[in-house]
């Protein structure tokens, strides 16, 4: 239990007649990146909402950072932060004002300093005093994640953090997530993007029809399938590789 950031057992949730979660079990190790994979409507967001105390489960238990989500929701909220599916930023405020606002709500000593540091770290200093409504999708997401880091929560929930981002912005987010985990933060991430899970996650769980049907490291999951056959296929660059190569060249020029 000491090394577990999240411990979920028998989690159940229904919306009216729709039985979304039918007994979900998994554990997340401290300081690791955990990816929850599943198709649209599989219940990934439902799990995130339950673990972040936004939604009550119908059955089962969940312990987050050692605190039961039902009996100690305030302690859970102290330990976590959530970056939801839709960027939870205030578009009418500037980037700096957004960060200062969250720092105030976390009751930190020097909100302005906290904001300056994060703006710097996320490359938003130049845009700091512009309204967020003028930001690009990638900048919005960066600000969103920066807001989630305020107060140094031990566990960060990212619900489909790269949905709707262009490849460059996506790679930027991946870099940020890796840095977080290197600094000891536990990252809980949901995604439909298999490559994302492959790139980032220490542990991958697949949610299907209300249950976790596979759970383990990438190597573990690969073992579930027949051994790799050796085939000789000409390696064609993917469109993404082409795109990034061209765009990269442009920037060098």
């Amino acid at each position: 239990m000491q090394n577990q950031a999240i411990h979920v057992k028998g989690l159940q949730k229904s919306y009216k007649k729709l039985h979304v979660l039918k007994g979900v079990d998994f554990e997340v190790e401290k300081g690791s990146i955990f990816a929850l994979l599943g198709s649209n409507g599989a219940g990934k967001t439902t799990i995130v909402k339950i673990l972040t105390t936004l939604l009550k489960q119908d059955g089962g238990t969940a312990i987050v950072n050692g605190f039961d989500i039902t009996s100690k929701p305030d302690d859970v909220r102290q330990s976590i932060s959530l970056t939801g599916q839709f960027a939870a930023v205030d578009e009418i405020l500037t980037g700096r004002e957004n960060l200062v606002m969250i720092a105030r709500l976390r009751h930190l000593k020097d909100p302005r300093q906290v904001a300056d540091d994060l703006l710097n770290r996320f490359g938003l200093t130049d845009a700091a005093d512009r309204r967020v409504s003028t930001y690009s999708g990638g900048m919005c997401r960066r600000l969103d994640i920066a807001m989630s880091l305020i107060g140094k929560p031990q566990i960060i929930f990212l619900d489909e953090p790269t949905t709707g981002l262009d490849p460059e912005a996506r790679i930027e987010v991946w870099k940020t997530v890796k840095e977080l985990a290197n600094n000891g933060t536990t990252v809980f991430l949901t995604t439909q993007n298999l490559e994302e899970a492959e790139q980032l996650a220490d542990q991958i769980a697949i949610l299907h029809e209300g249950r976790i049907i596979a759970n383990g490291t990438l190597a573990d999951l690969k073992k579930l399938f027949p051994p790799a056959k050796v085939e000789y296929v000409e390696k064609q660059p993917s469109l993404e590789e082409i795109f990034l190569a061209i765009v990269g060249k442009k920037e060098e020029e």
Partner: protein
């Protein structure tokens, strides 16, 4: 629990600061809540006013309470709108997953409504002073007027909160205020109710706006207030309590 309670007021003031910025950065809001009532005032005083017989010498004085209520009614529809936008954007999810009081975000909107409506009421009164509004009312009467207006704002804000929290679309969030904005027209706000046909008159004399308008008018012209003020306060408090209970119920369910 202790920590969230201890910080409730500081959290709420952060929320207040946030949504006040929303108001000041939206020209649309400022125009609707101040220019619209003033335009209506001009229209009634300088266009219709000559034909309206109120039995008072100064029609601006007669009109003032009703115009203030119209300013507030158009102001509170923004509470519904902003609440709805917050529910949509996911920022409420962020607030609610933070260690702050659950209702701080909602109270922030309610306080903002109170402050921004107070500002628009003051602006409207200043313009009316220029147009010839005069009152010999003392400080106590003005405090009473401010109190009634604040209660009226709070009552309607909680109604707006229900609309904003339960709406399925932006249009829906704003639609609730249309019927409310007609209430002052079918009241003693613009013309004396004696001039209306009996059915309309019965409605006008027994709906909240008339008693509120009459109470404010009496306070400002130093006439005896009578029962109007108690009926006005009862309406405001009653609406506020019922709307608050429903709004909180919707809030707990949806957010």
């Amino acid at each position: 629990m202790e920590a969230t309670r201890q910080y409730f007021f500081s959290d709420m003031s952060v929320m207040l600061g946030r949504s006040m910025r929303h108001i000041f950065r939206s020209m649309d809001t400022i125009i609707t809540v101040t220019i619209m009532p003033i335009a209506m005032m001009l229209l009634f005083v300088y266009v219709f006013g000559g034909a309206i017989q109120t039995g008072t010498a100064n029609y601006v004085n007669y009109l003032l309470p009703g115009i203030l209520l119209i300013a507030i009614i158009s102001g509170i529809s923004y509470t519904a709108y902003h609440l709805f936008m917050d529910m949509q954007s996911g920022i409420f999810d962020r607030f609610h997953s933070m260690p702050i009081a659950h209702s701080a975000a909602l109270w922030g909107h309610v306080l903002t409504s109170l402050v921004s409506n107070a500002i628009s009421v003051v602006v409207v009164i200043l313009v009316e002073l220029i147009m010839g509004f005069r009152s010999s009312a003392g400080v106590l009467s003005w405090i009473a007027v401010a109190g009634i207006l604040a209660l009226f704002t709070l009552a309607l804000t909680w109604v707006a909160a229900i609309a904003g929290l339960s709406a399925k679309s932006v249009d829906g969030a704003g639609a609730f205020s249309y019927p409310i904005i007609f209430l002052p027209f079918v009241s003693s706000a613009f013309v004396p109710t004696e001039s209306m046909p009996s059915g309309v008159r019965a409605f006008a004399e027994n709906q909240p706006v008339t008693s509120i308008v009459d109470a404010i008018r009496a306070l400002l012209s130093r006439k005896p207030v009578g029962n109007d003020i108690w009926i006005a306060l009862a309406w405001c408090l009653g609406i506020m309590i019922v709307a608050y209970i429903f709004a909180m119920r919707v809030y707990k369910k949806r957010a």
